[in-house]
Symmetry: C3
Subunit: 520 residues, 3 copies
């Protein structure tokens, strides 16, 4: 009997140990931090009203760890950059109330809700309570200025109009009408960010009966440069998806590809056909996307977007390979996205300040001249190049890196030349009155030949450069690249030649020129 | 000794428990149901002849559970909708013989095979033995009419011909020849479904020696609206892939993307760049795709196609968020796929009955007028909208949903307008004899300018609408969307202007018009 | 006490067994083989210098198994094809030194490095020490001749120039300049392979201070037909990615898609929308990609690229379904990639020997006539067809396979016809002097109309054929297929008609022809 009990006890103990090990391995470490009473009150209803939100949050780190606990991690393991937070926030987990009632009175979208003053849109200013370094770095990132840089640049506005404006065919003529806020929010501003404003209050039917909410314009939106009702700029949830805010998600390429897959910035498509993308796709299932810091070789055996551009990387001895940055261009000497030519990165994230030699709001003039005083200099480029190549060096020898870089710089040069060739064709068309551009006080983006020119730099030259930079050549030849660059150039030249020949003939036969455009 | 034996026993017991736990965890619950002798006879040969089929089936739920067991599940967990099946089918697993010998004599493709009368193609009528509600719902789904709606509509037939017909260049002229059954089956009908018919019998060499089989035309095919040799319509295996018929597969987006990735219905590409697609891609590895019902938040923290359009969803308390439906448009107020304009969903899944105002077999007339008497009314749209938005509400607040919906409805309107603009251009061309359309008793799809018009609605307007509906803006701007809508409109207007100018000049110089087309 | 100790011992033993089982399950079988002292010396520094490389290798099979152990596997499980290796290589794992110091003096890129003579680029000749059959088979694969077949074929060189050459617009004329080595390496040769040559020596800064390395041109590159500094041809690492060389990676489709995703060879995109691709995407997470041999049904329930084209496959009884081959066309009767028409596979992997009826270096003449004496005959096609269909038969009945094959052969024929139609249009243009081709000693690839012709066969006809072969119809209709074939044909015919009409008119009014081209 005694022996039996004893044996039973051994068995139970063992089984408990095993089960406990299994459970721990599955669910992550336990935590002592508890949810705040305010957040508990939120969840009481919202577990039924928006069950997906609550369940998602419950899987988050925010639901398990208090700021105080987060601060106590060894330096390299820190996921927070603040050193302390207000006492009332320190000891509970980071729940609904902690974020949605934080300084709500400073948010124009605040309202009374079941006895609480809350605001709808949690902003980078809110997040910076615990993550100030990240919010600050990101504010120096071009992306955080995605809205203002687009909307406050008259040339980009004109391009937007040429895409989003209405087109009508009436009495044999094509006419255009201005685009509207809903279309813009559904198009360019979906990724760039909208301006979210409070239009007033509105009553809405809910599962709990009618309730009053702020009525927002420009909402929903989670674009990178969103203007928020608290006056702040940018949206952390573009990449750190609500409400799990999982670091593994931000580190996976599908996050970046939400906005970087189209032919203008085809980073995702290039990654897919690169060796790096293949490693991720084929082997990434066994990688560890949650550890901080991220140990090259141990956690991952190939890079994702975040590896090269954002994350804190260390080697197996804990030596830092690259510090974390949310100003992605810290590691980028060149801006491949040509406007219209690839160029050294702008100094300021606010690119509306830039003026080219001919006073256009562009980082490079139409003839390719860089707007140098607004761009980082060669020395700064060199610093950023070294930082980026430090990541490459985790897995590549110096000769490999040098060979790759030489090829890449050469491609920047040759694709810029291919853009210049078509710009010269367009200049000739403008000069000869075969198309009407800025000199005629008209849009450089609305005529067919102008649209072909836009595709030359915005789609084809960009695509070739991304393919080169990220070693995904399959994309940059026939899919959307050198084949197209060359074909498009020839077609533009053919068009010019045919039009000039026609003009010549019309002149010799006394015909008038065809009517100008005055339309889109 | 005794102690030793005893201890050994404890150890063995423990190890067995652990192993058993591991095995169970790996392979799913054990079952008492056994395979029928008939199915065993099939497998005896086929484990060698088609090992992949047998092994795949062995991993299926069909191989583990008998109908009788399946019927005993609690209502919400039911995967069958019948209440009983014929006695002889009730107690064994659902094996080869259970489906392939079911009422075989009613299938024109039945034949004698190793002592059994079997039929090759298992049809929705067979599946409805256990799954009648699903078969019935699906018969009200447009997809189940994919073959008849395409093939019995003269206008769509004409479009098919313009794509699949042969083109020849002889004596300086482009001529066309009709498409053939093999080409159609390899093209449109691959997804829409073929008509599978028994041409006769044929002897074939097999591993078991020569055997006689039915000789089928239109085979192989697993298109959604396939006409089967038993006279039934549709194919369950389009989505429920043989022979594992795994619910996780039907719930994953790769299933839908087999037919919904091209530019005409780019749902898959839009999903890929949406936040939802990112959640699936980045976090879906940890989701549970096998549970019935599907618990939002617990099983999944983001939706797939099936979540929004098909599956039975509950919240963590077991309350139904949306009932299962295989008539997908139960949750769809609008048909985004414009023919040629987006419109309220057709009332009947048989769209060949529809006549537009000008008697075309189209849900919207060429000028955009909806063929309203054949389409659901605003009230029914409202019902379906509420059902769909109920799914959204699992994770989104009412303001978010309202804002999204306003934007989406606006995009339906503006893209329809962009289609109308190009239709007017084409009308003018037809009117002036610069192209030849229905009024001249010719195809509206075969000339270059007409093909540009088709791309306007079939590719670009559709793409923008799917991008809007599913929040994947990156696809709907530059990849295949507003940029193209606007560019294509301008190019069509330019073409018209140039042709009219040429006509004008030819007239003034006494030239004849160029010859009409009479060709593809 | 004794009992307690005894029980404790049982518990410890049990726990050890369990933990050991867990560890083994996680990390693969233990091995007795140890790393060589030379490789240890490499790692001593490189664990810091290139930590990713070392960590990746440590996860490899090469790091766990010695050649001697590898040779002892049962025949079907062998991953090596040599029967023995030099004694000094037999008993240690396959580490840095084993490959990078193997016959280094025969590699032009050898150099002195920390007391060792090593070479940078490990080549198929090195790999053939253990894998001679694979290296030999691959040398008979077209891919291994990717560089020479492209660069030594004057017609393909001309096509490359039309893509990669510079274009300039000066004094109103479009001119061209030759492409350069860096551009070619960044474009076509990225996948096809470069010629890697030693230019000299170079000093580079390293973490260990300045060091001398070979200075290579054409580097980095891992193209399939790379010319290596030891005179060998091809690169195993194109598919067997360094330094883990994981068989699961080579077996996954992302590996092939590095070079087979673009519109010229869109196998990856077709696979994505095929049932097979869906199976992989939806269910592949549970498949076993590491076992040798690969058991159909047990390890995988659907095929990847490697399944059909490369891998050793067995059924559950261990019977061989298909032997392993690295000469992929062993299972390919047809070459779908038309040059410019689909054709029976070339006999020799060196296609530079081929001459067409009109003496062009093409497997089919411009009028479609196959260069038959250089292509495999019908009997050999039949052998290869049976091998491939043997794989199909794992999961498909004979009637299915026959129906599929009939459809596929028909599509080869009809797409070849659609190519011929446009070739005839181009011939007419050349004949009438509306474009200038080979007869005028000019490129057939540089004019706009010629580029449309190239797209007809290189993009559209190829795409339709791949879609047919791999059952991914969604890709081959609207995405890049029959729609485009038909539209492009019509546009080419329209162009010809318009140009001829203009010529006719110019003639009648005494105008000269427009100037010839003499430009790209």
């Amino acid at each position: 009997m005694i022996l039996g009990r004893c044996l039973g006890s051994v068995a139970r103990t063992l089984m408990c140990s095993i089960l406990s090990w299994c459970v721990t391995a599955h669910s992550g470490a336990a935590t002592a931090a508890s949810i705040s009473p305010d957040s508990e009150a939120c969840i009481e209803c919202h577990v039924t009203v928006t069950p997906g939100v609550v369940a998602d949050w419950e899987k988050s780190r925010h639901a398990r760890v208090s700021p105080q606990e987060a601060f106590q991690k060894p330096t390299l393991e820190l996921r927070v950059s603040a050193e302390q937070v207000p006492e009332r926030l320190a000891k509970t987990t980071v729940g609904c109330a902690e974020c949605h009632t934080l300084d709500s009175e400073k948010h124009a979208d605040h309202f009374e809700h079941q006895g609480y003053t809350i605001h709808l849109i949690v902003t980078p200013r809110d997040c910076s309570t615990c993550h100030p370094a990240e919010a600050d770095q990101y504010s120096n990132n071009l992306m955080s200025h995605g809205y203002v840089n687009l909307v406050n640049n008259p040339l980009f506005q004109d391009l937007m109009e040429s895409i989003n404006g209405g087109r009508h065919f009436e009495e044999g003529r094509l006419t255009s009408s201005p685009s509207d806020a809903l279309t813009q929010a559904d198009s360019c501003l979906f990724c760039h960010g909208t301006r979210v404003e409070v239009k007033g209050k509105v009553m809405r039917e809910t599962d709990m009966g009618p309730m009053e909410f702020p009525d927002l314009s420009g909402w929903p939106n989670q674009g990178v440069g969103r203007i928020n009702p608290d006056g702040s700029q940018a949206s952390c949830t573009s990449c750190h998806t609500r409400h799990q805010f999982a670091i593994e998600m931000a580190r996976k390429p599908a996050t970046c590809s939400e906005c970087h897959k189209g032919p203008d910035v085809p980073a995702s498509k290039v990654f897919e056909v690169s060796k790096h993308g293949n490693l991720y796709e084929s082997m990434g299932g066994a990688w560890n996307f949650t550890t901080v810091p991220w140990t090259v070789g141990k956690d991952i055996t190939g890079p994702t977007c975040a590896t090269c551009h954002v994350s804190l990387l260390v080697n197996s001895e804990g030596t830092i390979i690259a510090p974390r940055t949310h100003q992605m261009n810290d590691r980028l000497p060149w801006r491949l996205f040509g406007l219209p030519y690839a160029h050294a990165h702008p100094k300021s994230p606010d690119t509306t300040v830039i003026k080219s030699a001919s006073s256009l709001p562009l980082p490079t003039d139409l003839d390719g001249t860089p707007s140098s005083s607004f761009l980082i200099d060669a020395e700064e480029q060199s610093v950023r190049q070294r930082t980026l190549q430090g990541v490459c060096a985790s897995c590549h020898a110096t000769g490999w890196i040098q060979g790759h870089w030489d090829r890449f710089l050469h491609t920047i040069q040759t694709t810029n030349e291919m853009t210049l060739t078509t710009t010269r064709i367009l200049f000739t068309a403008w000069d000869k009155g075969l198309a009407r551009g800025p000199a005629q006080k008209e849009s450089p983006f609305d005529e067919s030949i102008e649209k072909k020119w836009v595709e030359q730099w915005l789609f084809y030259a960009n695509s070739v450069r991304f393919s080169s930079a990220m070693c995904g050549a399959d994309y940059g030849v026939f899919e959307n690249g050198r084949w197209n660059l060359s074909k498009n150039t020839r077609e533009m030249a053919d068009w010019l030649e045919a039009r000039m020949a026609r003009e010549e003939k019309d002149k010799s036969t006394g015909k008038d020129k065809p009517p100008g455009k005055g339309k889109r």
